[in-house]
């Protein structure tokens, strides 16, 4: 005999309906296949009509045991695996890991390598943010067109990455104490050309979507993240700054050469989806400024500190290296016991922590808005699940 399904005890009450028809909540499992093109992710949503009453993100479909793998591998061997964390931004992932190891081992990075790292990180930020705008528009229903404009520009940056590092996405480019291969003058000229043309693309993207009335209606006053909640939930990155908190690790830590570069940190006012979108657009314009300065000032010299690759050992201790990744604070916490492999290896993934606040933003909105809010968080599931 089939038992009748009963709803378990829930912490919400039904909204009284005027026509007094008995209604009940509907629990929908969205996913785990691409609910909105962001990866293998599932949301358990409790709906009252079309309104979201409760939302539970379900993670772990892409778990690859990254941290445990890294503890079984020597220090160098983890770098290609960090590429696969946030596969849009392999350069910044490499940098965060190398920064943590360099802090731990006390390695001084040559000047030219620092400049190359900044150039690569800002190019990564450009392509990540432009693609994020495209994905957000895909979530609102503008399927394809803005995303392909973003991908067209991304191709140019990926070509640069390929010419410098050998691979388009899984770059594996940074090394402890520098970068793996120096860039030549041809590469720098090509990078200058891409950077020079990038503001034109940002203008085009803005003309394409920013003023669009449908976008404004779908994003403004949707998924508001209050300033206090954002701080308490340790949100970082453009999401935090869209809520009006002036916190950018490039300014706070001044790692690398960011201390002597001139750029500003754009902030949002309302903290809704539109602010999160627009803060990223403004960040791209600042990234272009940073790139122009870095490409102008890049000095000659070695691009590597000459750290040996095999049997590389790190003194006993623990360290935390963090950078401002395109998605937020990307940190690596490493404990060394003096051997050739880390004793403990932990990743503070920005996508994962930014995702924890999803329910607070979505409750009270329509189900279709939940997709847009998820799109504005800018997650990559490779990093969320690790």
């Amino acid at each position: 005999m089939i038992q009748p399904l009963t709803m378990p005890e829930q912490g919400y009450t039904l909204t009284p309906k005027e026509d007094a028809i008995e209604t009940q909540m509907l629990e929908v499992s969205m996913g785990p296949h691409h609910p909105s093109t962001h990866g293998v992710f599932r949301m358990d949503v409790v709906l009252d009509g079309e309104e979201v009453r409760r939302l539970k993100p379900v993670l772990g479909y892409l778990h690859r045991n990254h941290e445990q793998l890294a503890e079984k591998m020597n220090w160098l061997g983890s770098i290609p695996f960090t590429d696969r964390l946030d596969y849009f931004c392999s350069m910044t992932n490499n940098w965060a890991y190398c920064l943590a190891v360099e802090q731990l081992a006390g390695i001084k990075v040559p000047e030219r390598a620092e400049y190359i790292r900044v150039i690569m990180a800002e190019l990564t930020r450009l392509q990540n943010h432009s693609c994020q705008a495209g994905f957000l528009l895909s979530d609102t229903g503008a399927w394809g067109t803005p995303l392909l404009y973003a991908f067209r520009e991304r191709e140019k940056i990926l070509d640069l990455f390929e010419a410098a590092s050998g691979a388009r996405m899984m770059c594996n480019y940074m090394r402890f104490g520098g970068v793996r291969a120096d860039v030549d003058d041809d590469w720098l000229a090509a990078a200058r050309k891409v950077v020079e043309n990038y503001p034109c693309f940002i203008d085009e993207l803005e003309a394409l979507i920013t003023g669009n009335e449908i976008l404004l209606a779908r994003t403004q006053k949707i998924g508001i993240l209050p300033r206090e909640l954002a701080i308490n939930a340790s949100i970082t990155g453009p999401m935090l700054r869209a809520s009006g908190v002036d916190y950018d690790i490039r300014k706070v830590d001044r790692y690398g050469i960011y201390g002597r570069l001139d750029f500003r940190v754009p902030l949002g006012e309302v903290g809704d989806v539109y602010d999160r979108y627009y803060v990223r657009i403004l960040e791209m314009r600042e990234s272009v400024k940073i790139l122009q300065q870095a490409l102008r000032d890049i000095p000659e010299g070695p691009s590597d500190a000459g750290v040996k690759m095999r049997n590389f050992k790190v003194p006993v201790g623990d360290g935390y290296g963090r950078i401002e990744g395109p998605k937020g604070e990307l940190g690596f916490y490493l404990v060394s016991d003096g051997s050739t492999r880390p004793y403990r290896y932990h990743v503070r993934a920005p996508s994962f922590i930014n995702l924890t606040i999803l329910e607070d933003m979505c409750v009270g909105h329509k189900l279709a808005d939940a997709m847009v809010i998820l799109g504005s968080v800018d997650i990559v599931l490779g990093e969320v699940d690790r």
């Binding site: 067109t145 390929e162 050998g166």
Partner: protein, 214 residues
């Protein structure tokens, strides 16, 4: 005016559509199987083994450094032993790379002290056999130094210079035989896009036995 922003957006797409008839810059895609983009010199795909002159004269000495350092553990090496004495000879008897596991990270090529393993640029390697079809044995991996020169000319010239120097250091009076194969490659041929591996397809070897020490 309501709808102004949408019209602006449509103008952008219309401009791109019209420009694509006149401006080749706007055509960003290519017709892939017929046209191919030339890869940058640094571009890398899967690893291969370099030999000088003849395939017997391979640079690998079976030191197993790449096998140890490979992050996904896709390399398997067995040292060749002398038939009579049973002592190890400095060359591999078995050298297998499982391309289905390899993640093209280039660490094997970086750590190799003998410049014996380098990165290929062949990316069209799809096959129908899931279980061992991508397992490359020594015969399939061996490629000549000239092939390496065609793909990565700058890097290959550096490697040749380094190798000839180390050989000179090792044997100063008898530098003649060592220098002979290198002078052949002093002028690299113009670099075409590598289309197919020079070695024909090799029947797949049986799967690698699991390593005992992992």
């Amino acid at each position: 005016m309501l709808g102004n922003g949408m019209i602006q957006g449509l103008l952008v797409t219309a401009r791109n559509l019209i420009r694509s008839y006149f401006d080749p810059e706007c055509l960003t895609t290519i017709q892939y199987p017929e046209e191919r983009r030339t890869l940058p010199e640094n571009s890398r795909c899967f690893p291969f083994l370099v030999y000088d002159g003849t395939p017997d004269n391979l640079r690998c000495v079976a030191c197993k450094i790449c096998e140890q350092e490979c992050p996904p553990q896709c390399i398997y090496i067995e040292v060749e032993r002398d038939a009579k004495t049973g002592k190890p000879v400095r060359r591999p008897r078995v050298f297998d790379i499982d391309y289905s596991v390899c993640m093209q990270c280039q660490i094997c090529a970086e750590v190799c002290p003998f410049d014996a393993i380098k990165m290929d640029q062949i990316y069209e390697l799809s096959g129908t056999d899931r279980f061992g079809g991508m397992l490359m044995n020594k015969g399939a991996l061996l490629k000549s130094n000239e092939y390496y020169h065609q793909m990565h000319p700058t890097e290959a010239n550096e490697v040749d210079a380094r190798l000839s120097q180390s050989k000179k250091k090792a044997s100063p009076p008898a530098a003649k035989p060592a220098a002979a194969p290198i002078t052949l490659q002093s002028a690299p041929p113009p670099r075409p896009t590598p289309s197919a591996p020079p070695s024909p397809s090799v029947p797949p070897t049986p799967p690698v036995p699991p390593k005992s020490d992992v």
